[in-house]
């Protein structure tokens, strides 16, 4: 039988995995159920999601060093031709 009620520790683990899109659909359902009755985890989950939003916002405005390096190489190659 499928265990639908997660302990807090496991709920936090799923919540963290969820921030990186590594939680399965079933795990997310179980997390949602847990959040219905656990206020502490609900609060933690909201903070965690907010942190992801911040990090995405920060990341979304920058190119990585590797991407910049690739662009530089591409330009140099083109200039040599």
């Amino acid at each position: 039988m499928i265990k639908l009620f997660l302990p807090c520790e496991e709920a936090n683990h799923v919540c963290n995995k969820g921030q990186y899109k590594e939680a399965s659909f079933l795990e997310l359902i179980k997390l949602k159920i847990h959040l219905l009755y656990c206020n502490a985890c609900k609060k933690h989950s909201a903070r965690n999601t907010k942190l992801t939003e911040f990090m995405n916002k920060e990341n979304s405005f920058k190119l990585t060093d590797a991407a910049k390096k690739a662009l530089k190489t591409q330009i140099e190659k083109q200039l040599e031709q």
Partner: protein, 184 residues
């Protein structure tokens, strides 16, 4: 009389973040944004001879990028069979970058506040990262900023997946409370 000169070797350092910033707010996809910037630079190199020096290099590159973004959406729409994009621009590849210099405005409107807010957020994140223990900061950065997958980090740092998630949990909790104090 031309007042601006063109220097492709400095494009990446000087404009890539700006172009990326401009693109990501319009296409909302990191990889597509990166591809469009790459195509923009290539188109810029091909049409360097058309640069008259009347607009700045950045304005000129943005004008090429704008066209690439329009092409991108035109391609998506035509794939879905519902394209209706009406353009009067000259479509000859050779003339790319020529008409644009005269017609495009520098897009100051969209990004000024975003850039300031983002640079402040960036500083807050960097300050909070510095407060984390070294291992936590490294793993958090690899996972969250560099977007490495779990397996790669585990192999590289010789840790187990469950160990990684414990560290991530601690780092995220510390980062969230640090940002609450220093940013919100």
């Amino acid at each position: 009389m031309p007042t601006h000169v063109i220097n492709p070797k400095s494009w990446v350092d000087r404009y890539s973040d700006y172009l990326y910033n401009y693109t990501i707010t319009r296409v909302s996809n990191h990889e597509i944004a990166q591809d469009l910037i790459s195509e923009t630079f290539l188109a810029g190199l091909k049409s360097m001879k058309n640069f008259k020096g009347e607009a700045s290099e950045r304005t000129w590159l943005i004008s090429i990028l704008k066209r690439k973004i329009i092409d991108h959406y035109r391609k998506i729409n035509s794939n879905k069979g519902k394209a209706e994009v009406r353009m009067n621009y000259n479509n000859e590849d050779d003339a790319e970058g020529d008409w644009m210099e005269e017609r495009v405005a520098d897009p100051f409107d969209k990004t000024a506040e975003d850039t300031i807010e983002n640079s402040e957020l960036g500083n807050a994140i960097q300050n909070c990262l510095k407060k984390l223990p070294e291992k936590q900061a490294t793993i958090f950065e690899m996972k969250t900023i560099l977007d490495y997958d779990t397996e790669t980090i585990c192999n590289e740092l010789n840790i187990t997946a469950s160990n990684l998630w414990v560290i991530i949990h601690r780092a995220r909790t510390a980062m969230a409370s640090c940002l609450e104090k220093n940013w919100l």
